[in-house]
Amino acid sequence: MQQDEILARLTEIFRKTFDDDRLTVTHDMTAADVEAWDSLSHINLILAVERAFEIRLTTREVRAMKNVGDFVGLIAKKAA
């Protein structure tokens, strides 16, 4: 799967999870850039991504992600 395609699907997931239709996801975006992205909503995002891309993430992988770019890379690796 191409990174651009992952990013486009992530934007959809982000908009639905954080209830904000104006969100556009970028590689260097972090939780600090999205008001509703906190420790409680983080798990909803992980669940939505796991379902959409049919992958299973581990705590270690989730913890290692520093920004959306890392997330895209991880999805590309797992969904390959």
Partner: protein
């Protein structure tokens, strides 16, 4: 040797000056020896416990990183965490029964060591190969009494620079300013509130409703001023040695709800629990939906309560906050729907939410401040008119104790909402008076207005 003593600050001035005269390759050992000496001035036998716990965690970290199989890594990690938790729980639970003193800073340094083991398990590059630098991490004397709980990678990265760098005078002045601010919060505000609480606490049922209500609000405000004051001193002392620790408070009572308040209160502990307990729990229970969320929040908040001590009061404190946080989390969407659409309703909801948050925290302080559930219940009944109030009023309390209470409460609350408007005033003062005059005035205030009963920090006991 406590942070609030002339002897401590004399030793600190000598030790910090000598630090910059010591060549880079000796600095780690110098600061480690200094930290161990600071600890030994409190207890020599418990220094051995600190050294042994550090060596065991150092060994466990290496075993986790070098184990070939995932299963072995997990066994070393679980063994290390279990040993440290048993140590803390043993002293918190059993120590009291056997009459043992609780080891100074154990709750803080054991959590630092657990963080190190988990980080090494998650990413082997977090391994620290230098034994002296590793031992300095849990023992670092500015943080050992009551934190803040710094993360290992952050500490080691800063230490690599600080161990070689020449004196950074701007950083040292920042540290000095933090120490002065912390001392003022502690000695001029927290200890005055403490003196008032001590008078009312002897027999609260003899005082009228107003005095009791003010006293209960003082539990929250004293705790804030005492712990935020301590944290500022700890951060300031750390800066004298080139280490910037993590913050513990970020205007907690400016928060719009209690969930937001916990992101701003004792942050180094709550972020530790978020990363090493809440997040792994959430991942494990993510299939359970809302029930999983409720379970994670409840376990997390009860853990925060019991971290302070294995007593029924701290259990109730944690459970009360678990209830508040669960209600906040589960009503997020309806609240956003009701109040989030217009700027006026958003502002009104934020303001009333901030007042409610202070009220809920103060209510939970009934469990936190008192030693038994009976005592908490007595205060609750006095507050809610279930018990007739006494006849003693403000006038029956020694005037040097009662006079400054309202002003100190207002000041503590002002700082706890982030001291709005202080920056512009500070800029004007900075332009009018040179720094040395400001520092001199602060020192003069501290030396002239400290109450006789000034003493230890509340969080030193945990």
């Amino acid at each position: 040797m406590g942070f609030v003593s002339v002897a401590f600050f004399l030793c600190l001035a000598l030790a910090a000056t000598a630090f910059y005269a010591v060549p880079g390759r000796w600095r780690t050992r110098y600061l480690l020896a200094l930290s161990y000496a600071f600890y030994a001035s409190w207890s020599l036998p418990y220094l051995l416990l600190l050294v042994l716990a550090s060596l065991a965690a150092f060994g466990a970290g290496r075993a986790i990183a070098h184990a070939a199989e995932e299963r072995s890594k997990k066994i070393f990690l679980a063994g290390g965490i279990a040993a440290l938790l048993v140590l803390v729980a043993g002293f918190k639970g059993g120590g009291e029964i056997k009459g043992l003193l609780f080891p100074l800073g154990l709750s803080y340094y054991s959590f630092k060591l657990i963080a190190y083991l988990v980080e090494v398990y998650w990413d082997e590059s977090a391994l620290q190969a230098d034994l002296a630098a590793f031992c300095l991490y849990p023992a670092f004397f500015p943080q050992i009494v009551s934190g803040p709980i710094q993360r290992p990678q952050d500490f080691f990265a800063q230490w690599r620079r600080a161990a070689r760098a020449p004196a950074d005078f701007a950083g040292i002045e920042d540290g000095f300013r933090l120490i002065l601010g912390g001392l003022m919060l502690k000695l001029l505000i927290a200890d005055r509130l403490g003196a008032f609480i001590a008078v009312v606490d002897v027999e609260p049922e003899r005082f009228n409703w107003g005095v009791n209500a003010a006293c209960i609000c003082c539990y929250t405000l004293q705790l804030y001023a005492d712990f935020a004051g301590y944290t500022n001193i700890a951060l300031g002392v750390g800066k004298l040695f080139g280490i910037t620790g993590p913050p513990n408070f970020n205007a907690p009572f400016a928060a719009a709800n209690i969930q937001d308040m916990w992101r701003r209160w004792h942050m180094s502990l709550t972020l530790w629990l978020t990363d090493y307990l809440f997040m792994p729990l959430q991942m494990a229970l993510r299939g359970l939906g809302r029930a999983g969320l409720v379970l994670c929040i409840t376990i997390n908040m009860v853990a925060i309560g019991l971290w302070h001590g294995l007593t029924l009061n701290f259990l109730c404190f944690g459970a009360f906050h678990a209830l508040c946080l669960n209600v906040t989390a589960l009503t997020a969407k309806p609240r956003k729907f009701l109040f989030g659409r217009r700027a006026v309703t958003r502002a009104a909801a934020h303001l009333s939410g901030a007042v409610l948050t202070f009220g809920l925290m103060t209510l939970s302080m009934l469990f936190f401040h008192t030693q038994t559930l009976g005592s908490a219940w007595l205060h609750f009944r006095l507050l809610t008119f279930l018990l007739p109030a006494g006849v003693l009023g403000w006038g029956d309390i020694r005037s040097d104790v009662s006079d400054p209470v309202i002003a100190c409460m207002a000041l503590a609350y002002y700082f706890s909402i982030g001291a709005p408007g202080l920056r512009p005033v500070g800029r004007v003062a900075g332009a009018l008076a040179p720094n040395w005059l400001q520092y001199g005035l602060a020192l003069l205030l501290i030396s002239a207005m400290t109450v006789e009963s000034a003493g230890g920090f509340i969080y030193g006991q945990f």
